[in-house]
Amino acid sequence: MAIESPAVSLAPRFSFRLDAFPLLPTLILTSIGLIALLAGALAPYDPEIGSLAARFRPPAWQAGGSVEHLLGTDHLGRDVLSRLIFGARVSVVVGFTAVVVAGAIGTLLGIISGYLGGWVDQVIMRITDTWLALPALTFAIFLTAIVGPSEMNIVIILAAVYWTRYARVIRGEVLSLKEREFVRLAVVAGCSKWTIMRRHILPNVLNSAVVLGTLMLGVVIVTEAALSFLGVGVPPPKPAWGLMLADGKKGMMVGYWWLTVLPGLCIMLMVLSANLLGDWLRVKLDPQLRQL
């Protein structure tokens, strides 16, 4: 008996699959993390001190560049490579902390809101809706105008702006979990509300929180860069990528392209990797979130 083979073309084909493990993005994110961790050992120069004699040096491969400053220098003669390396530290620290803090607040409030219901739910959801209506970047700028810019404040501000995204989704999940058998049995068994939320609800929404967190990482990093670019983010002379872009504008019109292109490339690599990883996690961990 002849067995018909399924009509699958074996020819290689350009395709961009979301279900394949995103090896490259993971590698990039890990490297950026390592670079941030080892910035002190990796950077050839102090990122905050330059020499005015060496201003606007182009990258090594361009005419006038030298191997002393592989990626050139900026308007104060600071080494661009060193600033990029230390800038990774700012992005990683601010990005991850803000995502985790926002995630913790949002998940907690989402669980409480969804499980308790009633007026607690009403109050939390009305606040969530109101904060969601505020344009994120404008809201963040408003908050920096009140508390003033510092690295610590940026984390608090980003968490304050973005916790609502988690609260919304997590509450929705809790509403359906609440009706499930194991939660009802826990109620019958006499577990307190607090125990049910902690032992039975929380572990079941963690997947979604992690997926959302990964997807939020890109958003948070772009917002941090935008705030720094506008001069209300990480205060100078600390090297943040957004700040470097703002400084780079000073030399852009006379063709000092590396000050504009390189920090942006770093932001793009990190955000792109976070988004790819987030998309993959979304498909793998949480089929319900695929529609997002």
Binding site: F14, S15, F16, L18, R126, I127, D129, T130, W131, A133, L134, P135, A136, L137, T138, F139, I141, F142, L143, T144, A145, I146, V147, G218, V222, A225, A226, F229, L230, G231, V232, L245, G248, K249, M252, M253, V254, G255, W257, T260, V261, G264, I267, M268, V271, L272, N275, L276, D279
Partner: protein, 306 residues
């Protein structure tokens, strides 16, 4: 229907109240609001005048009442820098923001809709993959960096387009592209999924069974129906564009609301910052209301629900 609209109106009203309360409380709880509301270095007499005007020695509920009643009458205070009412400033910049947002919207739809359709029609093929890559790039490239790159290429290297300012169509091109880029990706994603849904429906199968040419099925039967959610999203996004343009407007020195906000933070002009965030939030609440009502008018299932 009237019931639904009334309920929806009440809901928006509560949102607006909460919005103003949130902003009000943020200004009060973080210390002495006079440091924000009074110009830095102002004489004591001015400080006292502001205290008097906002009733800062009164209980907080009375203060909120004063704040709210001045908002309702359109009084957002005076700008420290321009010395004119903030609302006048805001309204004078609004047309520029609207123009930029409209241009960015045209651009994002011109790219997003055709590429979304192409990706859906050739699902799983080359164009679908290319579309996915494009939408991923759109969501990952910060708009201000796109703007800076455009200036590098088209103003510095090629010298084709002016790098900043406004006035002619040429000034509009780059900021519109930079702002619309992200939204083009969002519109592409939605067009694709919306088209896929429509293409799988019964009436499309029927149209195909009738023997209509595929191009006609797509253009006449599928496209029109797939467009509705995309246009709804575009409506919301137009308002969002006005409110997220701050970095793009700063890069290109485009004299819109975003630029006003940037000037507000650089000149420590707090009334301006406060007004931009309040009016931005209010705009989004109102657009959501409008869209909910329009949807209810079109779709009876929504208004009969609950």
């Amino acid at each position: 229907m009237t019931n639904y609209i009334l309920r929806r109106l009440g809901y928006s009203f509560v949102s607006l109240l909460l919005l103003s309360l949130t902003i009000f409380l943020f200004v009060r709880v973080t210390g002495d609001p006079t440091t924000l509301l009074v110009e830095p270095g102002a004489p004591q007499a001015d400080v006292d005048a502001i205290r008097e005007r906002f009733g800062l020695d009164q209980p907080i509920w009375v203060q909120y009442g004063t704040f709210l009643s001045s908002l309702v009458t359109g009084d957002f205070g005076n700008s420290f820098y321009y010395r004119t009412p903030v609302l006048d400033l805001y309204l004078s910049r609004l047309p520029n923001s609207l123009l930029l947002a409209l241009a960015a919207m045209v651009f994002s739809l011109l790219i997003g809709i055709p590429s979304g359709i192409l990706a859906a029609v050739r699902v799983g093929g080359f164009w679908d993959s290319a579309g996915k890559l494009f939408s991923l790039l759109g969501l990952s490239l910060p708009s201000f960096w796109v703007g800076l790159l455009l200036i590098l290429v088209f103003s510095v290297s090629l010298g084709w387009l002016p790098s900043s300012g406004s006035g002619t169509l040429w000034h509009l091109l780059m900021p519109a592209f930079a702002l619309g880029w992200y939204f083009a990706a969002a519109h592409m994603r939605l067009t694709r999924s919306s088209m896929l849904e429509v293409l799988g429906s019964e009436y499309i199968k029927l149209a195909r069974l009738k023997g209509l040419p595929e191009s006609l099925v797509i253009a006449k039967h599928a496209f029109k129906n797939a467009l509705i959610p995309v246009l709804t999203l575009a409506g919301i996004n137009l308002v969002i564009m006005i409110n997220v343009a701050v970095v793009v407007e700063t890069v290109f020195a485009w004299p819109g609301i975003g630029r006003l906000l940037y000037e507000g933070i650089t000149f420590r002009d707090f009334p301006v910052v406060q007004a931009v965030v309040l009016l931005g939030g209010a705009m989004i609440v109102l657009v959501n209301l409008l869209i909910d009502i329009l949807y209810a008018l079109i779709d009876p299932r929504i208004r009969l629900e609950r």
